[in-house]
Symmetry: C2
Subunit: 260 residues, 2 copies
DNA sequence: CTTATCGGTTCACTATATGAACCATTGGTT
DNA sequence: AACCAATGGTTCATATAGTGAACCGATAAG
């Protein structure tokens, strides 16, 4: 590991619960010599990546990060990030993948990808609007949204799209509780008949759920093996996309890295 | 200059107009050896500070910056940043300094500092609301706001606070044009009689004006020397605070680093 | 086929990073 | 007051990690 990596890795020790770190503490955390850490912090400070808080002499993250993050955000649109992950998901699962984001009160699909491995596959429309109560993406967003938003969404009339659409608020609420414990949502024929979908949540920098990553497969093709493949793919890809967009996973978000 | 600083300085070559940089170009820009730059970019990439764009092999800023910037923002409130700059301004000019930010449609003072060098000084109230048309801070914000906002503000009734308050929209519009060319606003007795104020704009990451930094002095104390001192202090401090908050100066913002 | 680029790699050389031991302060305990 | 255990910061002999000219293979243009 080069000196540069070591220095940059120091920044990784800052977190929401540990926003100020002193020299000695940083040396302990990084298991590096105090003198080494001191020189690295000095260099990081010279470039604005850390600064010393006015009061104590402890270090905290610096203003240069804001500059660079703003540039990053300007140069890499969220859509492109989602596209790369969705492409990857479709290739790995052999099924249609899509990413949707909350835009105000509605969930809008901003990108999707087909797998081209089978003749039969679920097709998508550009910029499709997904009903929150009748899609797995919607369920996942509702499950992780703040209570006020969830309540408002459940209070509206729940339109039925298929025989299997959940139109009862109480039933849906129970389902959302399941989603929160398992970390993703599953729906069969809820929005379109014979379409089986899985979805996992996406979060922003404030740990708020802002959208979902989903896989849609023909119900006929669903087997325990495919189901497991899809779940594992989603559980890896959704946190990855969250990270790419600069988001944070909430602490209560169940990480099941080795889901069977 | 240590290796870490050199590596971090590479990030500084990215800008809105140059968001993708290839290895050779980066070597040219930084006047460093290609092999050196390559190794540095590799280390930066390993830590997520840069990444290679899908298409070409060029480098762009990476996702780790978003994570860290979000943490920075969470740990250092804007108010604290403004406070440190305002304290410094008051000490350097010997007059009252304050920082105000747009909150919706009104300009609200979030922090101020007295100099304690003179018996007579301009006093402030906590969380004071400043009228946009009758303060130098307001002028500066209006001058750099988008036309729609400016137009809406000028369309309302312009209340008179003193004999010198500008209440004519046309006159005010002319004044705002001056502010844009000079880079700051000056007002005498516009809001309070015998108070002479100077203000300079503050910008966010989208180069939008979000507030102003101002110095208020008793009119009786204003001399060409003090005026020059205040202007120089503001022209240094305002961009500095903008940078501390992760903002960008607009390209058309007159930088008069050596103002007389 | 030649001649530019490009991104990336190699390896002798040396500049740079390292860390044990060292200050000077600070705050708490006896 | 004296002592101890922290803190942030510094020194300097040692050796590790960084450097850069020259190289490669690929791609594109003339």
């Amino acid at each position: 590991m080069g000196t540069v990596s070591k220095a940059l890795s120091l920044l990784g020790f800052f977190s929401r619960s540990r926003s100020l770190i002193g020299l000695s503490e940083m040396a302990r955390l990084s298991r590096m010599n105090k003198a080494t850490v001191h020189r690295m912090l000095n260099e990081l400070q010279a470039e604005g990546f850390v600064e010393q808080s006015g009061t104590g002499r402890e270090y905290r993250l610096g203003p240069a990060l804001l500059r660079l993050a703003a540039l990053r955000e300007a140069t890499v649109p969220r859509r492109d990030l989602a596209q790369s992950v969705v492409d990857d998901l479709a290739a790995r699962t052999g099924e249609t993948a899509h990413a949707s984001f909350l835009q105000g009160e509605v969930l809008s699909t901003i990108t999707y990808a087909y797998a081209h491995q089978h003749g039969l596959q679920v097709t998508m429309e550009d910029a499709e609007i997904l009903p929150l109560h009748a899609t797995s993406s919607g369920h996942v967003v509702l499950a992780y949204s703040d209570p006020a938003f969830q309540k408002a969404a459940l209070a509206t009339a729940l339109k039925s799209y298929t025989d299997s659409t959940i139109t009862d608020a109480k039933l849906l609420q129970a389902k959302l509780a399941d989603v929160r414990t398992s970390g993703f949502a599953e729906a069969l024929s809820a929005f379109e008949t014979d379409v089986h979908t899985h979805a996992a949540p996406l979060f922003d920098a404030n740990q708020a759920c802002i959208g979902a990553l989903a896989i849609a497969a023909p119900a006929a093709r669903m087997t325990p093996e495919l189901r497991s493949l899809i779940r594992n793919a989603l559980l890896e890809a959704a946190p990855r996309l969250t990270r790419l967009m600069g988001g944070f996973l909430p602490t209560d978000y169940a990480r099941k890295d080795a889901a069977e």
